[in-house]
Symmetry: C2
Subunit: 430 residues, 2 copies
Amino acid sequence: MQKEIRIGLLGLGTVGSGVVRIISNHQEELYKQTGLHIHIDKILVRDTNKKREVPIAPDRLTVNAEEIIEDPEIDVIVEVMGGIEPAKQYILEALKRKKNVVTANKDLMALHGAEILRIAQQNRCDVFYEASVAGGIPILRALTDSFSSDRITKIMGIVNGTTNYILSKMSQTGADYQETLEEAQKLGYAEANPGSDVEGWDAAYKMSILSTLGFHVAMNLSEVDVKGISDVSIEDIELGKKLGYEMKLLGLAKLDDQKIEVSVQPTLVRNTHPLASVNGVYNAIYIEGEAVGETMFYGPGAGALPTATSVVSDLVSVVRNMKLGVNGQKMVAPYKEKRLKTDDEKYAKYFLRMVVADQRGVLAQMTQLFANNHISLEQVIQQPYNSGNRAEIILVTHEAAKSDLEIALATMKEMDVVSSIESCYPVVEA
Amino acid sequence: MQKEIRIGLLGLGTVGSGVVRIISNHQEELYKQTGLHIHIDKILVRDTNKKREVPIAPDRLTVNAEEIIEDPEIDVIVEVMGGIEPAKQYILEALKRKKNVVTANKDLMALHGAEILRIAQQNRCDVFYEASVAGGIPILRALTDSFSSDRITKIMGIVNGTTNYILSKMSQTGADYQETLEEAQKLGYAEANPGSDVEGWDAAYKMSILSTLGFHVAMNLSEVDVKGISDVSIEDIELGKKLGYEMKLLGLAKLDDQKIEVSVQPTLVRNTHPLASVNGVYNAIYIEGEAVGETMFYGPGAGALPTATSVVSDLVSVVRNMKLGVNGQKMVAPYKEKRLKTDDEKYAKYFLRMVVADQRGVLAQMTQLFANNHISLEQVIQQPYNSGNRAEIILVTHEAAKSDLEIALATMKEMDVVSSIESCYPVVEA
């Protein structure tokens, strides 16, 4: 067997530069861990003349992907360019040439993971993608290896740093969404075009990957209920706090009675729950297993070096497997039948806030409406609303079916005494 | 290759019963994960007639270890009997007969891990021991696989559930140590003879294992500074809370300038630090790596099923390796030179409380003493003491060398104005 492992790196942005830096700074560790020297042979970039943060010999850069994919000397492809195409085509081409792959590409793995993993297995290659979910937190390995003997029943995650930064900042400062988003953009925690983060799609990709691995089913992104944070008001955050909750963009994947639901939505989390104190750009994933009970994994969700740590640790696993000649042989494809819950099987507690006419009997009318729809109430607060002879009603329900809640909300909207339904969030207790 | 993997189980106590239960309840999962049926063939017990919590055919029980160790049909030994001997002898004998081993035995791995792993490697066998540290938290795999590309610089752990239960209960109720210990014993959270837990030894074993894996050195138990919780007073817990700290029995392993210190001691942890809110019998391990930054792993530290989950997940790894014929080939033995810090290289903040004569100039004398010993103070509180014309002085220092602190303490003890030094704890900030 060779003495050196040659890597082809696709992409030299933030994560790619981190990978270069770790591989060059940690040569001793990598050699001791694998018994082989790991060497970055060629790097695909868009512009070979661009000034780079990391020192790289110019002859290692190329704009031509074929030079890397088709090079028989290259053993492993590390894909950190992001996006679906051409990343997907490069990866499939590399696998067909028996090159192992490490990728940080969550969009690609969420949308085309099943196909990529199947082709990897056919070619006896590894495809590892730890860095695609929650940057430096080794959550995929926990699901595939550490809990391999257990039955996972729930995965709850704060898996998007941008939205967690915005929501925890709003909670701390009392500033509103727009102002906080702009500050996050200035600080580089939110992108100029923040849609994929704030609308919940980034988190949905990650929850789709996590639930596929945790529940052994092939989840599709379209099966994730997604709601972003752009409508979250500072009023709701502060009302939530008074009631003992923190607002989080929470990914939830639940298995009850062999049926699954997966969602990403702004959620009020009881402040004694371990997830409630995860602030700023940190991520955390809370897992419940039948045997293990409650566990939580906390760490940096993004950033060049944390994400690159996951990439290079995957690379170490690939190289160890290469030495033993066992690449692509430990993969467990989804083997369970996927049964999704219907809305009448999805149960949650809810927080609701509405503005109503301040007249006798309205509260009774509202509570009756909930009772009629099989929803019982845990807390009811009525308080004066700041304008126009109206009152504000805040409700926290007991566990209720989503279908019942939706009927109640639709009925309320039609009622003359109801001026507006301001907000509706699921509630998670500790 | 065979269709079935035969297990010999040594011990059928709490964890052993959990292993039997998971293997029998999760046959489908185990088969899907490994492609093989996993079957417990024989179980070593002390008394074959004892009534058991789990249903087991009596002919599978034996009091004779040789029947298991020497049985050529048995592929894997699962050791959950605990203690050093005869567990060690059984494991070594099994390895020499090319049987793979999964163990939950922290004492054994902390004291004789190096020898056992060396013999395992000679015989191309796996020895996995995830369950030996922090029950259901997959922390060993995180250190060996997930952070394999990083350089770990700090490991802080709440790794003993009994002491964490006692300290968090004291903090919540204001009851004293003795009363809380007795309650914990009644509830089964502390043993009748709680020495190994409350004196910090159980945690020291675990920190020795964690620092061996994290720093790639062969740590000895005797190199861990250990102090238990039996002297922790409710006064200090409450004073700490007022200053914004929670008292925890904290395992600390730190690498600075290639030099190591490992300790287990009651420590005041800033209440915004993620470890401060780990309460009750839960465990958590906080890890800092040069590249990954801060991460934390939280979960149940003990209990039949959580611990058994780790055991059976290790078993899955063994079986996957057996299928591929690669047992015992991924182990990375400690490869770094071990250099331990001397006391003048160990830096920490400290909390001190002492009772002094209530007379003019005493505070000045004390603060001068610290200054003379290169210790600067962050906070100084003087308050009346409840008896005998004395005052209580509470100090929080800036980072100071342990050697300087010890000289200061020794000098203080000799001073006429000092009635007693009530307490001295390291302080960890967020």
